[in-house]
Amino acid sequence: MIPLLLLLLFLGGCEKLETVFVEEDLLQRPPAKRCSDCHADIYREWKKSRHFHAWTSERFRIETENYAKVKCLACHAPHQVDPGRKPELRAEFREDGVSCVACHFKEETKSMHGPLKVWSPPHPSKQDLSYTKSSFCASCHRETYKEWKLAKVERSCQSCHMPSLGKRDLIQKFPFHLFHLAKPRTSHEFPSLKARPEDVEVRLEPGKIVLTNVGVPHNLPTADQGDPKLYLLAEVIYSDGRRKKVRKILSPQSKTALAYREPREIRIPPGEVKEVRVKLLRRLAWSEEKELIKEITLRTPSP
């Protein structure tokens, strides 16, 4: 390995090294697969993310009538992501959805922008701290970003949806990875996450159930164009033995989602209530599955 390294270094001195190893095609908007030649781990994570599915998603295809609804396309196959600006539709490799190149390559500097200071011979890189801020996500997650701002919390979108993986190698390509130290890595799976039972407070008050989102610093659920849902299933048992069911869909698109720390009252049919059994489930925008978030039995008076 050492001789190889030396050989590399002798190729015309250090100044030129920056240009000698540039792989030109990386600056010509290649498909995401090309990035995996070196960033194999990050690529593998991204393939599991919804950003990878943004264009090929069957639901998206159907709802856009086979991509005929033109105004729907730009966020699902963007050309370049700049905080505060609506993206434009990309011309090439749309099946990559929200891709590496779209998020990291900037036409203005012809280089990869990212959160770190790196030495990256195959392509120029530029440290750009906007990558660590919520506003980076806001050009597409517009509504969610607005809700998050209202919540006035410190934590960024990235801190929850791109959790830290500790220090790791950014590249896996032999032998280049030997020249680089491990650096802070963040998960490119962009996990959707799931509210914990304690994130939603459920209380019983006379004539109503009161739900409060105390843990997720945006609407629960939140959406721009997707249609995720929260399902409330309650069985009300009265002192006289009568039972009544209360069912509700709480969804961002019907403007009934739970805003952060804003109590939501749900009426229950009148009568002397003995107990209420409440189940809260969620369905993500792209999934058919209903997942349980919380199950609780409430009695009067509520503690």
Partner: protein, 275 residues
């Protein structure tokens, strides 16, 4: 003077359609292949724009005394016209290739009168087809379909197509009115609660076509929400005030009709052509 007249004739003939009646015929099968999902290129429509541009090119060049330029556009128009006549066999008879050729000859003769005459004749073939077909084609191929839109019923937790959902929504509304009229309070309250939930959920369909929240706001925004909240309030009373409830239902109905005014006609035409 003559050049001015030419502009007037040209802009009337090809592009606008001045029908005193609008006929809706189902667009022919073979047109399908020039529209999504079969093609993203809108080849038929794009030929239309080429012909319209060519008409304008003739007009503009003659105004500037450039007969050579005018002839190039006339030849382009003829070529596209003939090409288009072969795209949809069912519409073959609308085209009169001879008239396109006559227009080229008229331009060659450098006589403004002849060009006006030939343009008018050719333009009439455009206008005839537009009067018969344009509206229907617009409605079928340019207005998104409500058929692909599913709304989840908040009472039964089931995804339904728009038409079926509307039926359920309306049935709970009718049930509310019937029980209320009969004085069956508990049943009215239950039907009312179902209607309110279903009406609230209507808004979840808008984002499947609209990306601007303002479009939603004007029809099913705060005002609509306010009326639904009021209805909920009225129904929860021990002795619901029937008159007030009917009044509130009237206000809610305004939003329904506004939405129908904008969307229903295209939806009905699409539906009719599917059969």
């Amino acid at each position: 003077m003559k050049a001015k007249a030419l502009i007037a004739v040209l802009s009337l003939s090809g592009i606008l359609f001045s029908a005193d009646k609008v006929i809706l015929k189902k667009p022919p099968e073979s047109l399908k292949k020039f529209y999504p999902p079969a093609s993203q290129k809108f080849e038929f429509l794009s030929n239309m724009y080429s012909m319209s541009t060519a008409f304008y090119g003739i007009n503009l060049n003659i105004n500037e005394g450039n007969w050579k330029g005018a002839k190039e556009w006339a030849l382009k128009l003829k070529k596209t016209y003939i090409e288009t006549s072969k795209m949809v066999p069912e519409w073959k008879d609308y085209f009169k290739p001879k008239l396109a050729d006559n227009l080229v000859k008229a331009v060659e003769s450098k006589s403004v009168d002849k060009v006006i005459e030939a343009s008018k004749k050719l333009g009439q073939t455009c206008a005839k087809c537009h009067a018969d077909n344009q509206v229907a084609v617009k409605l079928v191929y340019h207005f998104p379909s409500f058929d692909n839109i599913k709304i989840e019923d908040p009472v039964e937790f089931m995804e339904l197509e728009t038409g079926k959902y509307m039926k359920k929504l309306t049935n709970s509304l009718k049930a509310l009115k019937v029980y209320l009229t009969q004085g069956n309070v508990e049943a009215a309250q239950e039907a009312g609660a179902n209607f309110i939930e279903r009406a609230r959920q209507l808004r979840s369909m808008c984002s499947k076509c609209h990306t601007n929240k303002l479009s939603e706001e004007v029809i099913v925004g705060k005002e609509f929400e306010g009326h639904l909240n009021k209805l909920e309030e009225l129904l929860s009373a021990q002795k619901p005030n029937r008159e007030e409830i009917f009044k509130t239902l009237g206000s809610i109905g305004m939003s329904c009709s506004r939405c129908h005014n904008v969307h229903l006609i295209p939806a009905l035409v699409q539906e009719a052509f599917k059969k």
